[in-house]
């Protein structure tokens, strides 16, 4: 490879790297509050899907596996509902996870399932608490009406799942 070939390769890889962003971007007139909501919603949905899929083979407890399958289904449905709302609001969702979630997910892969159930429940309780706080903030802030309606719809489901996760955690601690 000559010197110019090498530079072209490096430039292409740098461009590819520059296209990655963990935050939503506006394609036309979205408010900062709406951008923040879509950023967090995307982050939590993507993390729940990826961690939940790992649970299908790495979780030991059948109850954890069943709850993970339910969470993945709901995260998939939320992603399907959010994508057109974000596009209509002029928002391009992020395409990578933020730092904290990347580290957590990377750890799950490296651990190859060791202590998976305990870590999964703790992770999901944290992400559901974060999601709940995000939805409540969106509902009270009064941003894009469609996004606010989405937050209202999903928050009830998040509360229900959070209660199920906490109950499962308590049950496992008693055992």
């Amino acid at each position: 490879m000559n010197r110019w070939g090498l530079w072209r390769l490096v430039t292409a890889l740098l461009l590819l790297t520059a296209c990655q962003t963990p935050t939503a971007t506006s394609t036309g007139g979205a408010s900062p509050g709406d951008l923040e909501f879509v950023t967090h919603a995307y982050q939590i949905i993507t993390f729940d899907r990826q961690e939940g899929e790992l649970a299908q083979t790495q979780a030991v407890d059948p109850e954890v596996r069943a709850l993970a399958a339910k969470l993945v289904n709901e995260a998939n449905r939320s992603a399907e509902q959010l994508a057109p709302l974000a596009a209509a609001a002029g928002i391009r969702p992020p395409n990578i996870l933020d730092y904290g979630l990347r580290v957590r997910l990377g750890h799950m892969r490296i651990q190859h399932g060791l202590d998976f159930d305990q870590t999964f429940i703790a992770d999901q309780i944290a992400s559901h608490q974060e999601a709940l706080s995000m939805h409540e903030s969106m509902m009270s802030s009064g941003g894009n009406p469609e996004l606010r309606a989405f937050a209202e719809r999903v928050s009830a489901l998040v509360r229900e799942n959070l209660a199920a996760l906490q109950a499962l955690q308590r049950k496992r601690m008693r055992q």
Binding site: T17, R102, R109
Partner: protein
């Protein structure tokens, strides 16, 4: 300058042999050498900064099809490695790019009392791109393909028998596999082939050094005791890599068998330390490392 096999006396064997030592020395910390779990892809956007200290105590020298020198023979290797990795998503496949810079010294080099001198500076920078054509998180199975290129940026002095840089372009193609079996055991296997351009200004100046490809097999068997702590045993074998000076084999090649043991510990989810100890069980055509150690600190951001 023509060198014929018939004209090679004991002293010229040593002299010619010295010409390739820079390559063998740098081989101690080649960029595509893997540590356990390196073939597991991390989420797109993840950056890793890895810093290594590499020590090698080399106590024997063997000329291929020739003598093995043990008395008054050795080389001390002290290297630092700075490595940056960035993970991407390319068409739905995990991928990444990385840059590795090795620097440091090879000192107190000698063969049968003949001094090789010392070398300080940088090894050729290594640039790499890699992709996982198959990555199954659910089954913890990962297959990676990597390409490496080493432009001749390393410190090089044609009048020194020992160098860290090697004044030639090198390339390497690598495939790797990682699989977990159960929750505690996993293994890594890597195979790579390195091809070499010619060094047209080899020691003692003006000679043309060429080398056949080097093939390398690496294996790690890993046991994860806790989510943070893992121990591993491994093997690394080099094959091929016969060197010639102006078309005449100079007695050096890359045939080496090494056993390795490693332990790694996550201090925090983003900070990991690793210690590797290794020993060469046999070497043909180069220095044998009696004892080697690597300390690595990994930081994810």
């Amino acid at each position: 300058m023509a060198i014929t096999a018939a004209a090679i006396s004991m002293s010229t064997v040593l002299t010619c042999g010295l010409a390739g030592l820079a390559i063998l020395g740098a081989a101690r910390a080649r960029a595509q050498e893997i540590e356990p779990a390196e073939f597991v892809p991390l989420p797109a956007g993840t950056n890793l900064l890895l810093n290594y200290y590499v020590y090698g105590d080399e106590t024997q020298f063997n000329f291929a099809k020739g003598n093995t020198y043990t008395n008054n023979t050795g080389l001390q290797v002290n290297l630092g490695v700075a490595r940056y990795i960035h993970y991407l998503d390319v068409g739905g496949h995990p991928a990444g790019v990385q840059l590795v810079q090795i620097f440091g010294s090879e000192s107190d080099g000698r063969i049968a009392g003949q001094s090789l001198g010392n070398a300080f500076g940088a090894v050729n920078v290594a640039l790499s791109a890699f992709i996982w054509p198959y990555a199954n998180q659910q089954k913890s199975q990962y297959f990676v393909v990597a390409g490496w290129i080493y432009p001749p940026t390393g410190t090089y002095d044609a009048h020194s028998p020992i160098n860290l840089g090697d004044n030639r372009l090198r390339g390497d193609a690598q495939i790797g596999w990682d699989q977990a079996i159960g929750t505690h055991f996993s293994y890594d296997a890597g195979l790579d082939v390195m091809v070499y351009g010619d060094n047209d200004n080899a020691f003692p100046g003006g000679l043309r050094l060429s080398q056949t490809p080097t093939y390398r097999l690496q294996l790690w068997a890993n046991w994860r005791w806790t989510p943070s702590f893992q121990t591993s045993i491994g093997y690394e074998g080099f094959f091929g890599g016969t060197q010639s000076l102006n078309g005449v084999p100079n007695g050096q090649k890359t045939e080496e068998q090494r056993v390795r043991a490693a332990a790694s510990y996550f201090i925090t989810p983003a900070l990991q330390t690793l210690l590797e100890l290794n020993h060469d069980t046999s070497v043909v055509g180069g220095f044998k490392q009696n004892f080697g150690a690597t300390v690595r600190i990994l930081f994810a951001f």
